[in-house]
Symmetry: C2
Subunit: 230 residues, 2 copies
DNA sequence: GCAAAAGTGTTGTACTTACACCCATGG
DNA sequence: CCATGGGTGTAAGTACAACACTTTTGC
Protein backbone atom coordinates (compact mmCIF):
# COMPACT_ATOMS: atom_id res chain seq x y z
CA UNK A 1 0.00 0.00 0.00
CA UNK A 2 2.86 2.34 0.73
CA UNK A 3 4.44 1.56 -2.59
CA UNK A 4 1.09 1.83 -4.31
CA UNK A 5 0.69 5.43 -3.19
CA UNK A 6 3.95 6.39 -4.79
CA UNK A 7 3.95 4.08 -7.78
CA UNK A 8 0.46 4.71 -9.07
CA UNK A 9 1.57 8.11 -10.25
CA UNK A 10 2.98 9.31 -13.52
CA UNK A 11 6.69 9.53 -14.06
CA UNK A 12 8.63 12.00 -16.13
CA UNK A 13 11.90 12.52 -17.89
CA UNK A 14 13.98 15.13 -16.12
CA UNK A 15 16.76 17.06 -17.80
CA UNK A 16 19.41 19.36 -16.38
CA UNK A 17 20.18 22.31 -18.65
CA UNK A 18 23.23 24.42 -17.97
CA UNK A 19 23.72 28.07 -18.77
CA UNK A 20 27.50 28.14 -18.78
CA UNK A 21 28.71 31.72 -18.46
CA UNK A 22 32.23 32.76 -19.27
CA UNK A 23 34.05 36.09 -19.49
CA UNK A 24 36.34 36.40 -22.49
CA UNK A 25 37.67 39.38 -24.44
CA UNK A 26 35.72 41.67 -22.16
CA UNK A 27 32.44 40.05 -23.09
CA UNK A 28 30.03 37.89 -21.13
CA UNK A 29 29.41 34.75 -23.13
CA UNK A 30 27.34 31.60 -22.94
CA UNK A 31 28.59 28.23 -24.11
CA UNK A 32 26.18 26.92 -26.73
CA UNK A 33 26.13 23.81 -28.86
CA UNK A 34 24.43 22.51 -31.94
CA UNK A 35 21.78 20.13 -30.68
CA UNK A 36 23.00 16.62 -31.59
CA UNK A 37 19.65 14.84 -31.81
CA UNK A 38 16.25 15.20 -33.39
CA UNK A 39 14.00 17.05 -33.09
CA UNK A 40 15.58 20.45 -33.78
CA UNK A 41 18.85 18.73 -34.63
CA UNK A 42 21.65 21.21 -35.32
CA UNK A 43 19.76 24.13 -33.81
CA UNK A 44 21.48 26.19 -31.12
CA UNK A 45 20.94 24.80 -27.64
CA UNK A 46 22.14 24.98 -24.07
CA UNK A 47 24.21 22.13 -22.72
CA UNK A 48 21.83 19.60 -21.27
CA UNK A 49 21.25 15.98 -20.50
CA UNK A 50 18.92 13.62 -18.75
CA UNK A 51 19.03 12.89 -15.10
CA UNK A 52 19.67 9.28 -14.10
CA UNK A 53 18.39 7.13 -11.25
CA UNK A 54 21.44 7.23 -9.08
CA UNK A 55 22.10 10.94 -9.08
CA UNK A 56 20.67 14.04 -7.45
CA UNK A 57 19.61 17.06 -9.46
CA UNK A 58 22.85 18.81 -8.54
CA UNK A 59 24.88 15.77 -9.53
CA UNK A 60 23.07 15.60 -12.86
CA UNK A 61 24.00 19.21 -13.53
CA UNK A 62 27.58 18.61 -12.46
CA UNK A 63 27.74 15.66 -14.84
CA UNK A 64 26.71 17.91 -17.73
CA UNK A 65 29.16 20.58 -16.69
CA UNK A 66 32.00 18.12 -16.50
CA UNK A 67 31.10 16.55 -19.83
CA UNK A 68 31.37 19.85 -21.65
CA UNK A 69 34.15 21.59 -19.73
CA UNK A 70 36.23 18.81 -18.14
CA UNK A 71 36.36 21.03 -15.05
CA UNK A 72 35.22 20.16 -11.53
CA UNK A 73 34.17 22.35 -8.61
CA UNK A 74 32.52 24.85 -10.86
CA UNK A 75 30.37 27.50 -9.18
CA UNK A 76 26.77 26.67 -9.96
CA UNK A 77 23.32 27.75 -8.89
CA UNK A 78 19.84 26.58 -9.70
CA UNK A 79 17.69 28.87 -11.80
CA UNK A 80 14.46 26.92 -11.64
CA UNK A 81 12.31 24.18 -13.09
CA UNK A 82 10.60 24.46 -16.48
CA UNK A 83 7.54 22.31 -16.87
CA UNK A 84 5.22 23.52 -19.62
CA UNK A 85 3.55 20.61 -21.38
CA UNK A 86 4.84 21.25 -24.89
CA UNK A 87 8.12 22.89 -24.01
CA UNK A 88 10.18 20.05 -25.55
CA UNK A 89 9.07 19.04 -29.02
CA UNK A 90 10.61 15.59 -28.54
CA UNK A 91 8.52 14.47 -25.61
CA UNK A 92 7.39 15.34 -22.12
CA UNK A 93 10.46 16.56 -20.28
CA UNK A 94 10.80 18.68 -17.17
CA UNK A 95 14.02 20.68 -17.23
CA UNK A 96 15.83 22.13 -14.30
CA UNK A 97 18.15 24.96 -15.32
CA UNK A 98 21.43 25.79 -13.58
CA UNK A 99 23.83 28.55 -14.35
CA UNK A 100 27.55 28.04 -13.96
CA UNK A 101 30.49 30.44 -13.90
CA UNK A 102 33.60 29.12 -15.61
CA UNK A 103 36.99 30.50 -16.46
CA UNK A 104 36.75 30.74 -20.19
CA UNK A 105 40.52 30.88 -20.64
CA UNK A 106 40.90 27.43 -19.05
CA UNK A 107 38.65 26.10 -21.75
CA UNK A 108 40.29 23.98 -24.41
CA UNK A 109 39.32 24.28 -28.01
CA UNK A 110 39.61 20.62 -28.95
CA UNK A 111 36.82 19.94 -26.50
CA UNK A 112 34.81 22.70 -28.09
CA UNK A 113 35.26 21.13 -31.49
CA UNK A 114 34.27 17.71 -30.25
CA UNK A 115 30.92 19.02 -29.01
CA UNK A 116 30.44 21.68 -31.64
CA UNK A 117 30.41 24.20 -28.82
CA UNK A 118 30.85 27.95 -29.14
CA UNK A 119 31.08 30.87 -26.78
CA UNK A 120 28.43 33.35 -27.80
CA UNK A 121 27.99 36.89 -26.50
CA UNK A 122 24.89 37.05 -24.25
CA UNK A 123 23.75 40.19 -25.97
CA UNK A 124 23.84 38.51 -29.38
CA UNK A 125 22.21 35.16 -28.72
CA UNK A 126 20.59 33.38 -31.63
CA UNK A 127 17.20 31.71 -31.33
CA UNK A 128 17.70 28.65 -29.14
CA UNK A 129 15.65 25.47 -29.05
CA UNK A 130 12.56 25.13 -26.88
CA UNK A 131 12.46 27.57 -23.95
CA UNK A 132 16.22 27.92 -23.67
CA UNK A 133 16.19 31.66 -24.42
CA UNK A 134 13.92 32.17 -21.43
CA UNK A 135 16.27 30.09 -19.29
CA UNK A 136 19.18 32.33 -20.27
CA UNK A 137 17.14 35.45 -19.52
CA UNK A 138 16.14 34.12 -16.12
CA UNK A 139 19.71 33.03 -15.39
CA UNK A 140 21.09 36.42 -16.32
CA UNK A 141 18.64 38.23 -14.04
CA UNK A 142 19.57 35.91 -11.20
CA UNK A 143 23.26 36.42 -11.92
CA UNK A 144 22.86 40.19 -11.88
CA UNK A 145 21.23 40.05 -8.48
CA UNK A 146 23.76 37.56 -7.19
CA UNK A 147 26.94 39.41 -8.19
CA UNK A 148 25.54 42.63 -6.78
CA UNK A 149 25.00 41.11 -3.35
CA UNK A 150 27.60 38.34 -3.08
CA UNK A 151 31.20 37.96 -4.17
CA UNK A 152 30.59 35.28 -6.76
CA UNK A 153 31.81 37.15 -9.84
CA UNK A 154 35.37 36.29 -8.83
CA UNK A 155 34.70 32.73 -10.01
CA UNK A 156 35.08 34.03 -13.55
CA UNK A 157 38.77 34.62 -12.88
CA UNK A 158 41.61 32.26 -12.31
CA UNK A 159 42.19 33.53 -8.71
CA UNK A 160 43.80 36.89 -9.63
CA UNK A 161 42.33 39.75 -11.63
CA UNK A 162 42.84 43.45 -12.33
CA UNK A 163 40.40 46.16 -11.34
CA UNK A 164 39.78 47.27 -14.93
CA UNK A 165 38.93 43.65 -15.81
CA UNK A 166 36.64 43.30 -12.79
CA UNK A 167 34.85 46.47 -13.75
CA UNK A 168 34.44 45.33 -17.35
CA UNK A 169 32.98 42.11 -16.03
CA UNK A 170 30.40 43.90 -13.90
CA UNK A 171 29.59 46.22 -16.77
CA UNK A 172 28.86 43.32 -19.09
CA UNK A 173 26.80 41.49 -16.49
CA UNK A 174 24.78 44.60 -15.66
CA UNK A 175 24.82 45.65 -19.29
CA UNK A 176 25.51 49.24 -18.30
CA UNK A 177 28.62 51.39 -17.87
CA UNK A 178 29.92 52.00 -14.36
CA UNK A 179 31.89 54.93 -13.01
CA UNK A 180 35.50 53.90 -12.51
CA UNK A 181 36.12 55.94 -9.36
CA UNK A 182 32.83 55.01 -7.70
CA UNK A 183 33.38 51.35 -8.50
CA UNK A 184 36.85 51.39 -6.95
CA UNK A 185 35.65 53.37 -3.97
CA UNK A 186 33.13 50.69 -3.07
CA UNK A 187 35.74 47.97 -3.39
CA UNK A 188 38.12 50.00 -1.26
CA UNK A 189 35.55 50.55 1.46
CA UNK A 190 34.76 46.86 1.73
CA UNK A 191 38.47 46.10 1.96
CA UNK A 192 38.18 42.53 0.75
CA UNK A 193 40.86 42.54 -1.95
CA UNK A 194 44.60 42.00 -1.62
CA UNK A 195 46.78 43.94 -4.01
CA UNK A 196 49.62 41.91 -5.50
CA UNK A 197 53.01 43.30 -6.57
CA UNK A 198 52.45 41.83 -9.99
CA UNK A 199 50.96 43.69 -12.92
CA UNK A 200 49.09 42.65 -16.00
CA UNK A 201 50.89 44.30 -18.91
CA UNK A 202 48.86 42.71 -21.68
CA UNK A 203 46.10 45.25 -21.82
CA UNK A 204 48.11 48.41 -21.30
CA UNK A 205 51.64 49.71 -21.39
CA UNK A 206 51.50 50.99 -17.89
CA UNK A 207 50.07 47.74 -16.57
CA UNK A 208 47.30 47.16 -14.03
CA UNK A 209 47.91 45.63 -10.62
CA UNK A 210 46.55 42.20 -9.92
CA UNK A 211 44.30 41.61 -6.91
CA UNK A 212 42.97 38.55 -5.14
CA UNK A 213 39.80 38.12 -3.14
CA UNK A 214 40.47 37.50 0.55
CA UNK A 215 38.02 34.89 1.77
CA UNK A 216 39.02 35.06 5.46
CA UNK A 217 38.49 38.80 5.47
CA UNK A 218 35.11 38.24 3.86
CA UNK A 219 34.06 35.86 6.63
CA UNK A 220 34.97 38.46 9.28
CA UNK A 221 33.16 41.06 7.20
CA UNK A 222 29.99 38.95 7.33
CA UNK A 223 30.40 38.31 11.05
CA UNK A 224 30.46 42.06 11.58
CA UNK A 225 27.04 42.20 9.96
CA UNK A 226 28.29 43.88 6.80
CA UNK A 227 26.94 43.14 3.36
CA UNK A 228 28.74 42.80 0.08
CA UNK A 229 27.46 45.30 -2.47
CA UNK A 230 28.66 46.29 -5.94
CA UNK B 1 15.66 6.36 -33.11
CA UNK B 2 14.18 9.65 -32.01
CA UNK B 3 11.95 8.00 -29.48
CA UNK B 4 14.82 5.82 -28.34
CA UNK B 5 16.86 8.84 -27.38
CA UNK B 6 14.13 10.10 -25.12
CA UNK B 7 12.71 6.83 -23.86
CA UNK B 8 15.91 5.09 -22.90
CA UNK B 9 16.24 7.40 -19.95
CA UNK B 10 15.06 7.13 -16.38
CA UNK B 11 11.79 8.63 -15.32
CA UNK B 12 10.86 10.15 -11.99
CA UNK B 13 7.94 11.03 -9.82
CA UNK B 14 7.47 14.75 -9.61
CA UNK B 15 5.64 16.48 -6.80
CA UNK B 16 4.48 20.05 -6.38
CA UNK B 17 4.78 21.31 -2.82
CA UNK B 18 3.09 24.53 -1.84
CA UNK B 19 4.14 26.96 0.85
CA UNK B 20 0.80 28.66 1.41
CA UNK B 21 1.35 31.94 3.21
CA UNK B 22 -1.42 33.80 4.92
CA UNK B 23 -1.64 36.88 7.13
CA UNK B 24 -3.92 36.48 10.08
CA UNK B 25 -4.08 38.17 13.49
CA UNK B 26 -1.04 40.21 12.58
CA UNK B 27 1.05 37.12 12.05
CA UNK B 28 2.52 35.56 8.93
CA UNK B 29 1.41 31.95 8.82
CA UNK B 30 1.90 28.86 6.70
CA UNK B 31 -0.84 26.35 6.04
CA UNK B 32 0.36 22.94 7.21
CA UNK B 33 -1.24 19.55 7.31
CA UNK B 34 -0.71 16.20 8.95
CA UNK B 35 0.77 14.00 6.25
CA UNK B 36 -1.99 11.54 5.27
CA UNK B 37 0.19 8.65 4.08
CA UNK B 38 3.15 6.58 5.12
CA UNK B 39 6.00 7.08 5.58
CA UNK B 40 5.99 9.84 8.18
CA UNK B 41 2.21 9.59 8.40
CA UNK B 42 0.71 12.26 10.69
CA UNK B 43 3.88 14.33 10.76
CA UNK B 44 3.62 18.02 9.84
CA UNK B 45 3.97 18.63 6.14
CA UNK B 46 3.48 21.20 3.41
CA UNK B 47 0.58 20.77 1.03
CA UNK B 48 1.77 18.66 -1.84
CA UNK B 49 0.82 16.21 -4.50
CA UNK B 50 2.08 14.42 -7.54
CA UNK B 51 2.17 15.91 -10.98
CA UNK B 52 0.15 14.12 -13.64
CA UNK B 53 0.75 13.52 -17.35
CA UNK B 54 -1.63 16.09 -18.71
CA UNK B 55 -0.60 19.06 -16.61
CA UNK B 56 2.24 21.54 -16.50
CA UNK B 57 4.23 22.19 -13.34
CA UNK B 58 2.26 25.35 -12.74
CA UNK B 59 -1.02 23.52 -13.26
CA UNK B 60 0.06 20.82 -10.83
CA UNK B 61 0.74 23.49 -8.21
CA UNK B 62 -2.58 25.20 -8.94
CA UNK B 63 -4.33 21.87 -8.51
CA UNK B 64 -2.82 21.50 -5.05
CA UNK B 65 -3.69 25.05 -4.14
CA UNK B 66 -7.25 24.62 -5.24
CA UNK B 67 -7.61 21.32 -3.43
CA UNK B 68 -6.64 22.85 -0.11
CA UNK B 69 -8.08 26.34 -0.39
CA UNK B 70 -10.95 26.11 -2.93
CA UNK B 71 -9.66 29.40 -4.30
CA UNK B 72 -8.54 30.15 -7.86
CA UNK B 73 -6.23 32.84 -9.28
CA UNK B 74 -4.00 32.72 -6.27
CA UNK B 75 -0.70 34.57 -6.54
CA UNK B 76 2.03 31.98 -6.81
CA UNK B 77 5.72 31.84 -7.59
CA UNK B 78 8.17 29.03 -8.03
CA UNK B 79 10.80 28.63 -5.33
CA UNK B 80 12.85 25.88 -6.95
CA UNK B 81 13.37 22.19 -7.51
CA UNK B 82 14.52 19.82 -4.77
CA UNK B 83 16.27 16.73 -6.00
CA UNK B 84 18.47 15.10 -3.40
CA UNK B 85 18.45 11.33 -3.69
CA UNK B 86 17.10 10.50 -0.25
CA UNK B 87 15.01 13.58 0.33
CA UNK B 88 11.75 11.61 0.38
CA UNK B 89 11.81 8.53 2.57
CA UNK B 90 8.99 6.97 0.55
CA UNK B 91 10.76 6.82 -2.77
CA UNK B 92 12.60 8.83 -5.38
CA UNK B 93 10.66 12.04 -5.85
CA UNK B 94 11.72 15.37 -7.26
CA UNK B 95 9.74 18.19 -5.71
CA UNK B 96 9.16 21.61 -7.11
CA UNK B 97 8.21 24.11 -4.45
CA UNK B 98 5.89 27.07 -4.99
CA UNK B 99 4.86 29.70 -2.56
CA UNK B 100 1.39 31.18 -2.66
CA UNK B 101 -0.17 34.23 -1.03
CA UNK B 102 -3.73 33.72 0.11
CA UNK B 103 -6.29 35.73 2.00
CA UNK B 104 -6.48 33.80 5.22
CA UNK B 105 -9.83 35.31 6.16
CA UNK B 106 -11.45 33.84 3.04
CA UNK B 107 -10.41 30.46 4.29
CA UNK B 108 -13.15 28.23 5.59
CA UNK B 109 -12.65 26.11 8.61
CA UNK B 110 -14.62 23.06 7.48
CA UNK B 111 -12.08 22.69 4.71
CA UNK B 112 -9.33 22.95 7.24
CA UNK B 113 -10.88 20.19 9.30
CA UNK B 114 -11.31 17.96 6.29
CA UNK B 115 -7.60 18.10 5.51
CA UNK B 116 -6.38 18.41 9.05
CA UNK B 117 -4.88 21.72 8.06
CA UNK B 118 -3.65 24.45 10.40
CA UNK B 119 -2.26 27.93 10.02
CA UNK B 120 1.04 28.02 11.85
CA UNK B 121 3.15 31.07 12.58
CA UNK B 122 6.28 31.02 10.37
CA UNK B 123 8.45 31.88 13.32
CA UNK B 124 7.17 28.88 15.27
CA UNK B 125 7.23 26.10 12.72
CA UNK B 126 7.51 22.54 13.99
CA UNK B 127 9.83 20.04 12.38
CA UNK B 128 8.33 19.20 8.99
CA UNK B 129 8.78 16.04 6.94
CA UNK B 130 11.68 15.62 4.54
CA UNK B 131 13.24 18.91 3.39
CA UNK B 132 10.08 20.94 3.85
CA UNK B 133 11.64 23.21 6.46
CA UNK B 134 14.27 24.21 3.95
CA UNK B 135 11.59 24.87 1.36
CA UNK B 136 9.84 27.25 3.76
CA UNK B 137 13.12 29.00 4.53
CA UNK B 138 13.89 29.42 0.85
CA UNK B 139 10.35 30.59 0.14
CA UNK B 140 10.47 33.14 2.93
CA UNK B 141 13.74 34.61 1.66
CA UNK B 142 12.29 34.86 -1.82
CA UNK B 143 9.13 36.44 -0.44
CA UNK B 144 11.15 39.02 1.50
CA UNK B 145 13.00 40.02 -1.65
CA UNK B 146 9.84 40.00 -3.71
CA UNK B 147 7.69 42.20 -1.45
CA UNK B 148 10.53 44.69 -1.10
CA UNK B 149 10.82 45.18 -4.87
CA UNK B 150 7.34 44.44 -6.21
CA UNK B 151 3.80 45.16 -5.01
CA UNK B 152 2.83 41.56 -4.37
CA UNK B 153 2.15 41.82 -0.63
CA UNK B 154 -1.25 43.28 -1.46
CA UNK B 155 -2.38 39.80 -2.47
CA UNK B 156 -2.64 39.00 1.22
CA UNK B 157 -5.57 41.39 1.49
CA UNK B 158 -9.04 41.22 0.12
CA UNK B 159 -8.51 44.29 -2.15
CA UNK B 160 -8.64 46.94 0.60
CA UNK B 161 -6.37 47.33 3.61
CA UNK B 162 -5.31 49.85 6.24
CA UNK B 163 -1.82 51.28 6.56
CA UNK B 164 -1.28 49.90 10.07
CA UNK B 165 -2.18 46.43 8.74
CA UNK B 166 0.12 46.80 5.74
CA UNK B 167 2.96 47.81 7.99
CA UNK B 168 2.33 44.88 10.34
CA UNK B 169 2.41 42.60 7.32
CA UNK B 170 5.78 43.93 6.17
CA UNK B 171 7.12 43.71 9.69
CA UNK B 172 6.20 40.06 9.98
CA UNK B 173 7.58 39.23 6.54
CA UNK B 174 10.85 41.04 7.24
CA UNK B 175 10.78 39.90 10.85
CA UNK B 176 11.84 43.33 12.04
CA UNK B 177 10.09 46.49 13.25
CA UNK B 178 9.66 49.37 10.81
CA UNK B 179 9.34 53.07 11.52
CA UNK B 180 5.75 54.16 11.01
CA UNK B 181 6.51 57.58 9.56
CA UNK B 182 9.24 56.37 7.25
CA UNK B 183 7.08 53.53 6.02
CA UNK B 184 4.24 55.89 5.21
CA UNK B 185 6.57 58.40 3.61
CA UNK B 186 7.77 55.81 1.11
CA UNK B 187 4.22 54.82 0.26
CA UNK B 188 3.28 58.45 -0.13
CA UNK B 189 6.18 59.20 -2.43
CA UNK B 190 5.31 56.32 -4.74
CA UNK B 191 1.70 57.52 -4.85
CA UNK B 192 0.24 54.13 -5.78
CA UNK B 193 -2.51 53.88 -3.18
CA UNK B 194 -6.03 55.28 -3.24
CA UNK B 195 -7.48 56.38 0.09
CA UNK B 196 -11.07 55.33 0.61
CA UNK B 197 -13.62 57.22 2.69
CA UNK B 198 -14.24 54.10 4.69
CA UNK B 199 -12.53 53.26 7.94
CA UNK B 200 -11.73 50.04 9.71
CA UNK B 201 -13.02 50.47 13.23
CA UNK B 202 -12.31 46.97 14.42
CA UNK B 203 -8.76 47.55 15.58
CA UNK B 204 -9.13 50.99 17.11
CA UNK B 205 -11.71 53.43 18.28
CA UNK B 206 -10.53 56.18 16.01
CA UNK B 207 -10.47 53.89 13.00
CA UNK B 208 -7.91 53.59 10.22
CA UNK B 209 -8.63 54.55 6.64
CA UNK B 210 -8.80 51.82 4.05
CA UNK B 211 -6.65 52.04 0.93
CA UNK B 212 -6.56 50.18 -2.35
CA UNK B 213 -3.65 49.56 -4.67
CA UNK B 214 -4.01 51.38 -7.99
CA UNK B 215 -2.79 49.06 -10.72
CA UNK B 216 -3.11 51.58 -13.57
CA UNK B 217 -1.01 54.06 -11.66
CA UNK B 218 1.55 51.33 -11.05
CA UNK B 219 1.83 50.62 -14.79
CA UNK B 220 2.51 54.31 -15.48
CA UNK B 221 4.97 54.30 -12.60
CA UNK B 222 6.90 51.46 -14.25
CA UNK B 223 6.75 53.15 -17.65
CA UNK B 224 8.40 56.19 -16.09
CA UNK B 225 11.29 53.93 -15.12
CA UNK B 226 10.48 54.02 -11.42
CA UNK B 227 10.88 51.06 -9.11
CA UNK B 228 8.68 49.85 -6.32
CA UNK B 229 10.56 49.75 -3.02
CA UNK B 230 9.47 49.13 0.55
C1' DG C 1 56.87 62.46 -27.64
C1' DC C 2 52.52 60.55 -27.95
C1' DA C 3 48.81 57.29 -27.67
C1' DA C 4 46.44 54.39 -24.56
C1' DA C 5 44.99 52.65 -20.45
C1' DA C 6 45.63 53.08 -15.08
C1' DG C 7 44.94 55.47 -11.26
C1' DT C 8 43.12 59.04 -7.97
C1' DG C 9 39.14 63.04 -4.58
C1' DT C 10 35.69 66.23 -4.06
C1' DT C 11 31.18 68.09 -4.06
C1' DG C 12 26.18 68.27 -4.49
C1' DT C 13 22.09 65.54 -4.19
C1' DA C 14 18.98 62.07 -2.83
C1' DC C 15 17.84 58.78 0.32
C1' DT C 16 17.63 56.81 4.89
C1' DT C 17 17.29 57.06 9.63
C1' DA C 18 15.91 58.68 14.09
C1' DC C 19 12.68 60.78 16.74
C1' DA C 20 7.75 62.92 19.78
C1' DC C 21 3.51 64.75 19.92
C1' DC C 22 -1.50 65.56 18.89
C1' DC C 23 -5.97 63.41 17.24
C1' DA C 24 -10.26 60.84 17.31
C1' DT C 25 -13.29 57.87 19.55
C1' DG C 26 -15.64 54.12 22.30
C1' DG C 27 -16.20 52.77 26.57
C1' DC D 1 -12.19 61.65 30.77
C1' DC D 2 -9.04 58.47 29.59
C1' DA D 3 -6.90 54.63 27.26
C1' DT D 4 -5.87 53.06 22.74
C1' DG D 5 -4.27 53.05 18.38
C1' DG D 6 -4.01 56.53 14.12
C1' DG D 7 -1.84 60.01 12.05
C1' DT D 8 1.79 63.64 11.00
C1' DG D 9 7.16 66.59 9.83
C1' DT D 10 11.95 67.76 10.43
C1' DA D 11 16.79 67.47 10.92
C1' DA D 12 21.14 64.82 10.75
C1' DG D 13 23.76 61.42 8.64
C1' DT D 14 24.85 58.38 5.06
C1' DA D 15 25.20 56.64 0.51
C1' DC D 16 25.24 57.64 -4.37
C1' DA D 17 26.22 60.12 -8.64
C1' DA D 18 28.71 63.19 -11.35
C1' DC D 19 32.85 64.79 -12.82
C1' DA D 20 38.69 65.73 -15.01
C1' DC D 21 43.20 65.41 -14.68
C1' DT D 22 47.89 63.14 -13.90
C1' DT D 23 50.78 58.92 -14.40
C1' DT D 24 53.19 55.30 -16.76
C1' DT D 25 55.33 53.17 -20.55
C1' DG D 26 55.84 50.74 -25.12
C1' DC D 27 56.21 52.03 -29.49
Amino acid sequence: MLQAYYDNNDKFLIAADCIIFGFHNNELKVLLTRRPVEPMKNEWSLMGGFMEEGESLVQAAEKILFRYTQQKNIYMEQVGAYGEIDRDAGGRVISVAFYALVQADKFNTSLANKFDAKWINVKKLPKLVFDHNKMVDDALKLLQYKVSTQPVAFHFFNDKFTLPALQELYETIYQMPLDKRNFRKKLNNMDLLDKLEEKDKVNSKRGAFYYTFNMERYKQFLDEGKRFSL
